[in-house]
């Protein structure tokens, strides 16, 4: 009986295969470098903001930044109280969220439990189209329709002029409505069918199932969606720039023109700020504030989803 003796190297690659495997290792390293580029960009954002911000606060004291209420950084003499911007930002965001969050929930409930297949098939593309409209087009819409026809007509507390935080807020709200709807709908779709059937089996109506079972069960996803909507509204630039004007008003009257953090940055960028000037650095200081706020909101949203998921099953 012959035993077949294999030489040690019989199962090793040779020639072409060997070269292929070597190349593959190189490719892997190259790809890793490419993948790291994504990380680099985030680091880049942070670094870009840090140095000029630090230099800004060397020139301008924190107590002036956070303690005073006049914002005229590009004037002579400049004022650096940031509160008008913060109030402006949150005013616009509030109006936007008041429209987008209940609206998104409502449309999501409708799609989830009420709409027939035919309605769904027609409604979803409309929402997708609305979601794809560029912000500058919404800005045009704000100036030419929302401002004169809606904001001016419904605000009874003061005279609404051409620019107003209300007009900007309504338009931003309409812009983020489709996104909120999609996120809320995803949250509702994740509610197990068994729960929903259990509710109907007890004789509950659609409304009672929506409010009594689906909403509580999808709550963490819905809250997370709301937080993302807030973040998006805070970061919106173009609509606000067009519709709310460029006056940094220290006021709570949303019928007035206001400036937000984002729209200020845009506004300052339109004029040419020499590198290194305080005006230039102001952009970075406000940008840092904006980045920190939105970063915090986004992290909050993710934590809500991950932390409360267990309570559910």
């Amino acid at each position: 009986m012959n035993t077949v003796v294999t030489s040690v190297g019989e199962l090793q690659p040779s020639g072409r295969k060997l070269r292929q495997q070597r190349t593959e290792r190189v490719i892997r390293v190259l790809l890793m470098i490419v993948a790291t580029s994504g990380v680099l960009v985030t680091t880049g954002v942070v670094v870009a903001l840090v140095r000029p911000t630090v230099e800004f606060f060397r020139a301008v004291s924190i107590s002036e930044f956070l303690g005073t209420t006049a914002w005229f950084p590009l004037y002579e003499p400049p004022d650096f109280g940031v509160w008008p911007l913060v109030i402006g930002t949150f005013s616009v965001m509030l109006v936007a969220v008041i429209i987008a969050v209940p609206g998104g929930l409502a449309i999501a409930f409708y799609l989830n439990q009420y709409a027939s297949d035919r309605v769904r098939r027609n409604l979803k593309p409309i929402l997708e189209i609305l979601a794809g409209v560029p912000t500058v087009v919404f800005g045009f819409f704000a100036i030419n329709f929302v401002g004169p026809n809606i904001a001016a007509k419904i605000w009874v507390f003061s005279d609404v002029g051409f620019y107003s935080a209300l007009s900007a807020g309504i338009t931003v709200g309409l812009m983020i409505l489709p996104m909120m709807t999609t996120l809320a709908e995803d949250a509702m779709a994740a509610v197990p069918r068994a729960l929903i059937e259990g509710s109907y089996a007890l004789g509950a109506t659609k409304r009672e199932t929506c409010t009594g079972v689906i909403f509580p069960a999808a709550l963490s996803g819905i809250i997370a969606a709301g937080v993302i909507a807030m973040s998006r509204a805070i970061g919106e630039t173009t609509i606000v720039l067009l519709a709310a004007g460029s006056t940094a008003n220290f006021s709570f009257d949303i019928g007035q023109p206001m400036q937000t953090m984002s729209s200020f940055i845009g506004f300052a960028g339109l004029g040419d700020q020499p590198t290194g000037s305080t005006g230039y650095q102001t952009i970075f200081a406000v940008g840092s504030l904006l980045f920190v706020i939105t970063f915090f909101l986004n992290m909050l949203s993710r934590r809500i989803v991950s932390k409360f998921r267990e309570v559910y099953e």
Binding site: D117, E197, A201, L202, G203, A204, T205, V213, P216, E313
Partner: protein
Amino acid sequence: MVEDMSNATISKTTGGSRQSDSVVRVNLSSDSQSNSGKPQNEMIMQSVDLQVHYGDFLAVRDVNLTIHKGEITALIGPSGCGKSTIIRCFNRMNDLIPTAKVGGKVFYKGIDLYGPEANAGEVRRRIGMVFQKPNPFPKSIYDNVAFGPRVNGKPTKAETDELVESSLKRAALWEEVKDRLKQSAFSLSGGQQQRLCIARALAVNPDVLLMDEPCSALDPIATARIEDLMAEIKSEYPIVIVTHNMQQAARVSDRTAFFNTEIGANATRPTGVLVEYDTTRKIFANPSDTRTEQYISGRMG
């Protein structure tokens, strides 16, 4: 509480305090005939030539059943034979599936469930359902049981408290949860959750209780407790149970319906059909149809 499957009589003892009426035994002789003129329990539900299509596909056909007060009726058969589909017709849960079409008739106290006189919400309140996998709401134990009554009326706090307590007692869960009613329903074990779902269904005071494989997700001990429970409450709530556990059907039920599948002339998928429906005694000891006999002996041999 234990059923003795001897050849002669089946005698059942139910919990003493629950015997509000003497439950009439159905057919004690070995040549059982359910329609031999002996007094039967009052019929409460009936299906006549019931069938269900999903789109073009005929899922189950020709189902003629009667459900009687004070009894447990079991639907058994291999998987895919339409048992769950049929039971879901009894409380119009199939309405929730867009492609489902129900043919034939289902009567409840003489009223056509699918006719103009029957409102779906009311049907579901009166004909309750417990599902295969316990599905408590993500709320407290108390709020789970209270959900049905709150939705169907406006009970005061005192009324709700009493209703929750009596329902949990009826579902044999009160003693275990009475000190933690505000805790989440998910803090309960699987078996407890299922009893919670039973309590929840009982809280709206149904006339019939449908159970779709209620024990298949539970361990044997939890299963036994639920079977005990079923025997306790059947005098107040007639039960229809779908089960693929034949021993269970033999243990708890008074009547059994055996379903099977067959492939029709032009069909590509098997359709469910009711093969035989009789007292449990007869089905298991001396079935009329050979298919029934094959199924029973194949699984219990």
